[in-house]
Amino acid sequence: MTRHFPRQLAWACGLVMAAAFLPVSGRAAKPALRQITTIATIAVPASAFDLVTGQAEVTVPGGIVMQVDSSSSWKMQVRATSATFTYLTAPGTGKPKPVAELQLRPAGGGTASVISTSYRTITSSSKTTGWDDYAFDLILQVTSADAGGLYSVTLEFNVY
C-alpha cells in the first residue's frame, strides 16, 4: 500500500491539475484570442476632407478581425499603447495626434468606442462554437491640424 501511494498521488494530482484547465471537451475555460489582422491601414484621401471645416472622417469596415475561442461568456477590450499617434513621416514634428481621434466598433454597427490608453470593452458574447471571427470597423477623424503623412498607433486587444 505504501509502495503505491506516490504513484496514485501523482496520477491524482496530474488529473486534477489537467481537469482544472480542461473542463469541457478539451477547450480552455478561459477565452483564447488570436488575430487575423496584424496591421490595419486607413487611407485618408484629399477628397475625404470637408472643404469648409477642413475635417475628415474615414471608416474602414471590418478593418480589424480577431478570433475568440471560449467555452464560457467573455468580453473583449482594447486600448492603445500610447496616448498619441506616432507621426512616421517626420517623427517628433507637428501637433501630436491623439488616439482619441480613433474609434472602434463592431463591424456593421453598434456603439463606437473611443480609443484611449485604458482598456475599453468593445464586444462581449457567450461561449463560442470554436474560433469565431469578430470584425471591427475603424473610424478615424482627421483635422486640418494633421499634416499629410503616415501616422501609426498600436492597439492591444484582450479577452477575459
Binding site: G14, M17, R34, A43, F85, V142, T143, D146
Partner: protein
C-alpha cells in the same frame, strides 16, 4: 522505480499545461493611417472686366484709374501652411483694337491687385506676387476666404481704344 511511476502523470500535466499556455488573451494590432496632403483652392469668378468709359479720363492729364473691388474671391482649404501667389501670363496685355489701332504693348504694370485694405501692388513682368498666407484649416477658418481687388490705369496718350486682356494664374502652394 518510484521515479518511473511518477513520470507519466507529470508528463501528462506538463503537456496539458504547455498546450494551454498557447491560448494567449492579449494581442497587438498596428494601425497605420495615411493622410493625404490637402491643398484646395477655389475661385468664384474666372473673369474680371474693368470697363473704361470717356468720363473716367481726367480731362487735363488724360489719365484714368478703374477699380474692381472684391472682383474675385478665393477660398483655401488645407492641412498645412500655405501661400497664395499670382503671376501674369505675359509681360504685356493682349490687344484687340476697336478699329485699326496698333498694339500699344500695354505693360502688366498697369494692373495692380490687393487683398483687404493693403496698398495695391502692381504686376512687374512675369513674376509672382504674394497674395496671402495661412495655416491649416477649411473655408470657415479666418483668413481662408480671400477677396481680391483689382486696379488698372489707362492713358489716352498711350492706350488706343480696344480690348486689353491679361491672364492671371493664381497658385496655392505649401509653405
Amino acid at each position: 522505480m518510484k521515479t518511473k511511476n511518477l513520470f507519466f502523470p507529470l508528463v501528462m500535466y506538463a503537456l496539458c499545461g504547455t498546450s494551454l499556455s498557447l491560448a494567449q488573451t492579449t494581442k497587438q494590432v498596428t494601425v497605420n493611417a495615411s493622410v493625404a496632403e490637402m491643398l484646395s483652392l477655389t475661385v468664384d469668378a474666372t473673369s474680371v472686366t474693368l470697363a473704361f468709359v470717356a468720363a473716367d479720363y481726367d480731362a487735363n492729364t488724360g489719365l484714368a484709374t478703374k477699380t474692381a473691388a472684391k472682383a474675385t474671391t478665393f477660398s483655401v482649404s488645407a492641412n498645412r501652411a500655405w501661400k497664395l501667389t499670382v503671376r501674369p501670363g505675359d509681360q504685356y496685355f493682349t490687344f484687340t483694337p476697336l478699329g485699326t489701332a496698333q498694339d500699344p504693348r500695354k505693360p502688366v504694370s498697369a494692373l495692380a491687385t490687393r487683398t483687404g485694405v493693403t496698398a495695391y501692388a502692381p504686376f512687374s513682368g512675369i513674376t509672382d506676387i504674394p497674395v496671402a498666407t495661412g495655416t491649416g484649416g477649411g473655408y470657415s477658418k479666418t483668413g481662408n476666404i480671400i477677396p481680391v481687388d483689382y486696379q488698372m490705369t489707362s492713358a489716352l496718350a498711350t492706350d488706343p481704344p480696344g480690348a486689353y486682356v491679361l491672364t492671371l494664374t493664381y497658385t496655392l502652394a505649401a509653405q
